[in-house]
């Protein structure tokens, strides 16, 4: 193993890693190019092409994006709140209570990791119809709230809480809900954060089920709005579509760039458990 060969191999490897990075980010860079230049430069790359915000102005004017942002924000918050509630309780039950049927219920719950709401669009649609929840934000959110993934994550987190902490809280007179609230939830904070980030980015980006369930501007989330924004079939021009696309991804993208470390850590935490 001579040092020279090492550097050469290393150089090749580093270039390959960089090249891959470039390829991976190129589509996004291209979207930036198209969005910030006049439509005439969409496929003409000139260094000094004039910059413009006109595409964003047009995109914003063509569709009620403000409303879509609000809808997505409401949707994501509602789902997160619901998931924290349902998954905390169920995770606590599985972690600390030995009740008959627990293992069976847990196995059934885990099935939902596989049988995703996306797959059940046909029947879930009928159920939502029956509940009168078609075209409501609750209708989009409900199937995701009791998330097997969340239950599993929190169960694992709760299991690691030392029994002594629980005993101490009990001595101070906490009931079983008090223990959950005072002891378990604080200890699992990092897991909540991780799960929350994953959940928010998942549902910010979710498309199929919201597409099925929403009918109107008042409920449509960003992704669905964006999809039908591109739908006037002979095509709004690319520059405007790029601008709309960037608007839709902007909040998550900015958050990601600012809190890169937390994002990556969260996805790791959520992944390895």
């Amino acid at each position: 193993m001579t040092p020279r060969r090492l550097t050469l191999g290393r150089c090749v490897e580093v270039s390959a890693a960089w090249l891959l990075a470039l390829i991976w980010i190129a589509p996004l860079l291209y979207a930036f190019w198209a969005a910030f230049h006049p439509p005439a430069y969409v496929t003409r790359f000139e260094l000094f092409a004039p910059l413009t915000l006109q595409n964003f102005v047009e995109a914003w004017g063509y569709a009620p994006f403000a409303r879509y942002f609000l809808n997505t924000f409401l949707l994501v918050s509602l789902i997160l709140a619901g998931q924290f509630f349902f998954c905390t309780l169920a995770g606590y039950a599985f972690a600390r209570f030995a009740f008959p049927g627990r293992d069976l219920l847990f196995a059934l719950t885990l099935m939902q990791l596989f049988i995703l709401p996306e797959v059940l669009i046909v029947e879930n649609y009928r159920i939502m119809s029956g509940l009168g929840l078609i075209d409501t934000i609750a209708g989009i959110g409900l199937p995701y709230m009791a998330s097997a993934f969340g239950i599993f994550l929190l169960r694992q987190a709760f299991k690691q809480v030392p029994r002594e902490l629980e005993e101490a809280a009990r001595v101070e007179g906490c009931g079983f809900l008090g223990v959950l609230w005072r002891v378990y939830v604080p200890v699992a904070k990092p897991v909540y954060l991780a799960y929350g980030l994953v959940s928010v980015s998942t549902h910010w980006n979710n498309f199929l089920w919201p597409l099925v369930v929403t009918n109107s501007v008042e409920t449509r989330p960003l992704t669905v709005g964006l999809a039908i924004f591109g739908a006037p079939e002979s095509g709004v021009n690319w520059a405007v579509i790029s601008a709309a696309t960037l608007m839709v991804v902007a909040p998550l993208l900015i958050a990601f760039l600012l809190f890169q470390r937390q994002f990556v850590q969260s996805f790791m935490t959520a992944g390895i458990k």
Partner: protein, 427 residues
């Protein structure tokens, strides 16, 4: 609560508001919800919103909630979903060819039962008969034309001149289109002779070829199709030959959505596209262009296309009346003229072309009249029971022929067999 008591309360509320001297706008007595699609680009939603506002200003007792729902398919899905879920929707603009699906679901009412006065009946007769074809079946009228189009040929005059062709003469028949296309196609692939879109609505374009070759693809009752007729096969063979044999069109499918961009960027010297694109092309083209009838074979021909107004059964009588008022207002000659100028869609009645605005516009921009002129060669758009699946079968045949994965005759025979199977139970 009966409608009458509701009105009474509404009236009371209204008079209290007035008596109180509040400067509130008069509360609308009837609220209408309407879904509508847009299949061409641009800020057309603004145009529709503007029209609705004008209408509400003139009819303070009716408020209209117009919901843009994507393309025609999306809109049908959304409107049916809303109705199934018991949400209010009293009328919608839906694909003219959705008629049989809507009948099958039993959710629309015929306009014959909505018209009351002689004036109404006159209005019902005021549209171009060619545009009514897709709205009439079982002896009644179910759809009123609104955003209607035909397919036309757009050609780039600058490219024609550059290729040594007369920039003012578009191809009049199939052979000429091939000849001119060959002169226009550049070897380096930077400019093609012609592009005919084959995604989005392949069946529609195919229907144009078939009509030009003298064959209708379905019967009026929507229960039979003739996809494998020799004339239809010949039509598809011609379409395929444009790329496979003559090399004047790119091989594979041509994307409907990006075709306008292709034309505007000079990637193709001619395109077949809906008239609904006319205004957008006019606003964005940096070259001189013309619009013409599609070339002929046995005859000229193009199917009509686009959206009709439908009124839903579930609406109360009062709502249906309000919907009629709205539809009549929207299709009145002045509005039809304005809509046509804004978009390129056709003015739906001869009276629309008699308005001063549209006359002046056409004088200045004769291309705007081509769609109307083509109407005398028009035919109903492909519309059958199980329409979605029948069209999909034909789309697949067209696409597999164009991409070379099947011979036109085989592909069409297969789609005909599928259509037979689907339609058997409706005969």
């Amino acid at each position: 609560m009966t409608t009458r008591t509701k009105n009474l309360i509404g009236g009371l509320a209204l008079s209290t508001a007035l008596a109180g001297g509040a400067a509130l706008p008069a509360a609308a007595e009837v609220e209408l919800t309407m879904f509508y699609p847009i299949a061409v680009g641009g800020a057309l939603t603004e145009v529709v919103d503007g029209l609705v506002e004008d209408f509400e200003a003139e009819h303070p007792d009716i408020s209209v909630n117009a919901i843009y729902a994507g393309n025609y398919d999306d809109t049908r899905v959304r409107a049916l979903a809303a109705l199934n879920a018991g949400e209010p929707a009293q009328l919608s603009v839906l694909f003219s060819i959705d008629l049989f699906e809507l009948l099958e679901q039993d959710i629309i009412v015929p306009f014959d039962s909505l018209v009351e006065t002689d004036e109404d009946r006159e209005w019902l007769d005021s549209f171009y008969p060619g545009l009514m074809a897709n709205g009439v079946t079982e002896g009644q009228t179910w759809g009123i034309p609104f955003q209607r189009s035909t397919i036309v040929l757009y050609w780039n005059k600058d490219a024609f001149a550059e290729a040594g062709l007369d920039p003012e003469t578009p191809p009049a028949n199939w052979d000429e289109m091939v000849e001119m296309g060959q002169a226009l196609t550049k070897d380096d692939g930077s400019q093609w002779g012609v592009m005919v879109p084959s995604t989005g609505y392949p069946y529609w374009m195919f229907q144009a070829f078939a009509l030009q070759n003298g064959i209708e693809l379905m019967n009026e009752a929507g229960t039979e199709t003739y996809f494998d007729d020799p004339a239809a096969v010949e039509a598809l063979e011609y379409w395929v030959s444009l790329s496979a044999e003559h090399g004047i069109m790119p091989s594979g499918t041509v994307e409907w959505g990006t075709l306008r961009q292709n034309f505007l960027e000079g990637q193709t010297a001619m395109m077949w596209h809906t008239t609904g694109n006319l205004t957008a092309v006019r606003n964005q083209a940096e070259f001189d262009f013309g619009v013409a009838l599609l070339p002929a074979k046995e005859r000229y021909g193009s199917p009509t296309g686009g959206g009709n107004f439908y009124v839903f059964k579930d609406a109360s009588e009062e709502e249906q009346k309000a919907a009629m008022t709205f539809i009549k207002w929207m299709t009145a000659p002045e509005r039809a003229a304005a809509w046509s100028i804004e978009t390129g869609y056709m003015g739906v009645s001869p009276a629309a072309y008699e308005t001063d605005e549209l006359k002046a516009y056409i004088e200045d921009f004769p291309a705007a009249a081509v769609a109307r002129d083509q109407l005398e060669h028009g035919a109903a758009e492909l519309s059958t029971y199980e329409g979605g699946r029948v069209r999909e079968a034909l789309n697949n045949a067209v696409q597999s022929a164009l991409t070379g994965s099947a011979e036109p005759a085989d592909a069409l025979a297969e789609s005909q067999a599928t259509a037979e199977r689907l339609l058997r139970m409706y005969r």
